[in-house]
């Protein structure tokens, strides 16, 4: 339902009495405050809007924690912008930087998508006025297993090779004597060792073989894993022991 706006909204304290539950998030609330007061979005009166935003979220504790955090984060942004407005900075080419610029960009982008969502809703409403057939005969599908299958192993193998091509870095096989020292094997070994303990000394990874090639490939493996954010490599000082640390899954 549409409400006609109060003629002089800024004088109506009731305006701040918004029901936060009805807003999808801080951007929604902020847009509401701006659009409902005939404010030029490119020249947001930041002090006033900040005050209204803070008033609106005063009872934010009633929201669940995650949502509350989202509103508080925006409040912090607003307060920071308000402070920056007092001390305008200049960019390198001497132009005055508007601290509101990024916020305006985000608001317009958000509004753009909300507009798009409105179009979707209209399409959905239109579609909801038409019905498919309510009941359709259940037809037992003939078992797919009986259908002919002409796929040969070469096609499966092509798929295998496509997967290989997708591997970020195809592991080079370093040969030592007759047996290849493969980086992927070393990487696996490092990860396996880190399943057992939180960290492992690099020397311990190499000692079972003690050859230069194993050491080099192991080091490359550790660096590759670090690059993929699967491990951390630490050395306290030059020539100090090198340690490899496990990274928790959610870290990377």
């Amino acid at each position: 339902m549409l409400q006609a706006l109060p003629a002089a909204p800024q004088e109506q304290p009731d305006l701040y009495q918004v029901d936060l539950e009805r807003f999808q998030g801080p951007l929604d609330l902020l847009l509401h405050l701006i659009r409902n007061q005939d404010v030029d979005i490119f020249d947001i009166p930041i002090a006033r809007i900040t005050q209204q935003f803070l008033a609106a979220i005063e009872r934010v504790d009633r929201l669940e924690l995650e949502r509350a955090g989202e509103f508080l984060e925006m409040a912090a942004i607003l307060v920071r912008i308000k402070a920056q407005m007092l001390f305008p900075r200049r960019t390198e080419d001497g132009e005055e930087e508007d601290p509101r610029a990024e916020l305006v960009r985000r608001l317009l982008e958000y509004e753009h998508f909300r507009e798009a969502a409105g179009h979707l809703e209209a399409a959905e409403r239109e579609r909801a006025r038409r019905w498919t057939r309510g009941w359709v005969e259940v037809r037992p599908a003939p078992p797919l297993a009986d259908a002919p299958l002409e796929t040969g192993w070469d096609e499966v193998w092509d798929a295998v090779l496509r997967l290989a091509a997708r591997d970020a870095e195809p592991p080079p096989g370093y040969r030592f004597g007759g047996r290849p020292v493969r980086m992927d094997e070393k990487m696996e070994l490092v990860l396996a060792a880190l399943q057992e303990s939180r960290r492992v000394e690099f020397a311990a990874l190499v000692s079972p073989w003690g050859t230069r090639m194993h050491a080099v490939v192991s080091l490359l493996a550790c660096l590759e894993l670090a690059k993929r954010s699967q491990v951390r490599v630490r050395q306290a000082a030059p020539f100090a022991p090198l340690w490899v640390y496990r990274r928790r899954a959610e870290e990377g």
């Binding site: 009495q17 918004v18 029901d19 998030g25 929604d28 958000y110 969502a117 979707l120 909801a128």
Partner: protein, 187 residues
């Protein structure tokens, strides 16, 4: 059997849209052109006879649906369940996925300014959105895109039916006449 009746039987027995290629499977002598012609014939007949349903173009195929003017009648019947509608957060998230696909969760949350994991999951469960790949960068984030079911849900023929981004007015002045839920009201 007339090709149009063969196509009719299959369209009638399906709850989802069927493409020309799919419909062609119904008859030995059917190809995509014959299917097109049969569909056109059915359309014209239903139209002429004033049938309560018609053949509509949806999601790259055709589907028999009741005509909109019968909605008020159908809404009265318990055995005709209402077509499901999405929540505002779901629509908003879906709009972002539709226009930005393939898009990761982080970008969606950046645009919306709120956590969107739950909404995305719901959209995935309803098969309106699916994982279409992985992005570059840290953790190779999952990227989402819209599905054929998405087109069905909104009755779009293809993603071309979405209003082009440049057709969406980036509203620069106050706008408030579109029936959007209004949060602010005293009492």
């Amino acid at each position: 059997m007339r090709p149009s009746r063969v196509v009719e039987a299959v369209l009638f027995a399906s709850q989802t849209p069927l493409s020309a290629a799919e419909l062609a499977r119904a008859g030995e002598d059917l190809d995509e052109d014959a299917v097109e012609a049969a569909v056109a014939e059915l359309r014209a007949e239903y139209e002429r006879e004033g049938r309560a349903f018609g053949v509509f173009e949806v999601a790259g195929g055709w589907q028999i649906l009741t005509r909109p003017e019968f909605a008020p009648v159908l809404e009265r019947f318990d055995s005709v369940p209402a077509n499901p509608r999405l929540s505002a957060p779901a629509l908003e998230t879906l709009a972002i996925v539709a226009y930005r696909q393939p898009v990761g969760r982080a970008e969606i949350e950046e645009i919306r300014g709120v956590g969107s994991g739950g909404v995305l999951k719901t959209l995935q469960e309803r098969e309106l959105v699916e994982v279409v790949g992985r992005g570059e960068g840290l953790g190779r984030p999952l990227l989402y895109g819209t599905t054929r079911r998405f087109l069905e849900h909104f009755g779009f023929r293809s993603t071309e039916d979405l209003p082009r981004p440049e057709e969406l007015p980036v509203v620069l002045s106050r706008r408030n006449e579109d029936g959007r839920q209004d949060g602010a009201q005293a009492g």
